[in-house]
Every structure is written in C-alpha cells, then in structure tokens.
C-alpha cells in the first residue's frame, strides 16, 4: 500500500498510518482514531455501514494533507477511512500527522478530522435496535424522529 490517503474495506491497523509519517525530521506523531461507539444519548448502535464515493474521497483526503502542509509547513499526514460494515469499537478513520514539534501535530490532526467531516464524500448509516438512518447534514439541522440523536451529537464522534 503506497498511498498515504486511502479508502479501505478491511480492518485498519493504526500502524499502517503511523509508519507512513514517522521520519527523521519528526519528533511528534499525533494519531486520531474514530471508533464506532455503542451508545449515543442512550440510543444503542448495533453496527454501522459506511459508504464512500471512493475516487473523490481519496482525492479529498489528499487535499486535506495538502492543506495541512500549507498551514503547518513541516507536517506529514496519512489518512485511511474504512467503508462497509463496522462493528462497535472498530476504527472507522485513522489520521496520523508527524511534525518536528508536538504542538503542530495536535493542531494538524485536529484540523484533519474536522475537514473530513466537512468535505470528504463518505456517509454513515446507523443500524439501531429499532431502525436505520443515513446520517448527514453538517450545515443544517434536518429534523428526524424525536428519539434520534441530533446530527451534531451523531457527528461528534
């Protein structure tokens, strides 16, 4: 796997990302892992299904890496997002950013996950005990049934 920004159907090993950014110039690597949480506001998730517009999603992940390089000159980034069925505790996304100094690694990693939630064409479908729903809408509040957690709550993983 030569790509540093990719979509996969397979379980993610965080080291696959980390190893791509470790280098002589770096003193810090920040890794963010988004995992499938079982409960959101008391509502139980059984599993998730992620779908992606794969070629565009990989382009947008690469774009985020380029944005990070522009903002934090010496940062190196790798991002993988998994699609398909994910069970509780599975990693959906792994971001690794290496920088010479630790402050930038935290900032850039944080930036990456926020940007993923803004521009990367990937969608999550929740399978609850009592139904399913494609989650979406980060700019507006779409109204769902009252017992479904708000979009912001769902996205804040």
């Amino acid at each position: 796997m030569d790509k540093k920004f990719w979509i996969t159907q397979e379980p993610i090993n965080p080291n696959d990302c980390i190893e791509k950014v470790v280098r002589h110039e770096a003193g810090a690597v920040n890794t963010f892992i988004g995992t499938v949480r079982e409960f959101t506001k008391g509502k139980r998730t059984l599993f998730l299904e992620y779908q992606a517009y794969i070629p565009m999603a990989e382009k947008k992940l690469l774009q985020i890496g380029e944005e990070i390089r522009e903002k934090w000159g010496e940062a190196d980034t790798a991002i993988v997002h998994r699609i398909g069925r994910l069970d509780i505790t599975d990693a959906a996304v792994v971001i690794a950013v290496s920088t010479p100094h630790r402050h930038d690694a935290f900032e850039a990693s944080r930036y990456a996950i926020e940007r993923i939630k803004e521009i990367v064409p990937i969608w999550k479908k929740e399978y609850w005990e009592d139904g399913t729903k494609w989650i979406g809408d980060q700019k507006e509040n779409t109204s769902y049934e009252k017992d479904i957690p708000s979009e912001e709550e769902m996205r804040d993983g």
């Binding site: 997002h81 939630k117 064409p121 969608w123 980060q138 507006e140 996205r155």
Partner: protein, 77 residues
C-alpha cells in the same frame, strides 16, 4: 449523455447508484430539474454537486461524459 451518481439516502431514494442521462449542454441545476421529474429525490436540494470528482456550482454547464455526483451532507470520521 452524462453519468449521474447517487449516494447514501439519495441512492436508496433513486433505487440506483448510477444512471446515464441526456444532459449535454444543460446546467447542473437543469439536470436536477430533469431528475426530479423522474425520481422521488426528497433531499436532492440538500446535496452538494461534484462534477468529475470536484465540487461544482449549480451553474456549471455539463458536457458529454461528465460524471455528476450528488453528495448528500457527509458523515465520515
């Protein structure tokens, strides 16, 4: 003819992940009107548009073999 891609809820509403449709010379906005005459796509207006894998404006005029994707609000991460 252009290729139109649907994802997530739109894909389920359209009953298909991809359709090929005559839209050469139309704007994305005109394509949307055309799609809404054939499909029940409740949330089409809330989708962003990508033409050939780049986010595009509704005014973008399509040409033959463009790939138009409707991108519902994303929820990766």
């Amino acid at each position: 003819m252009v290729d139109v891609l649907f994802f997530a809820e739109l894909q389920e509403d359209a009953g298909s992940d991809q359709v090929r449709i005559e839209a050469d010379g139309l704007s994305v906005n005109e394509l949307k009107t055309k799609l809404l005459s054939s499909y029940e796509l409740t949330n089409l207006d809330q989708a962003m548009i990508a033409v050939n894998e780049e986010y595009s404006r509704e005014e973008t005029v399509l040409k033959s073999d463009d790939v138009v994707a409707f991108i519902p609000p994303v929820s990766g991460g």
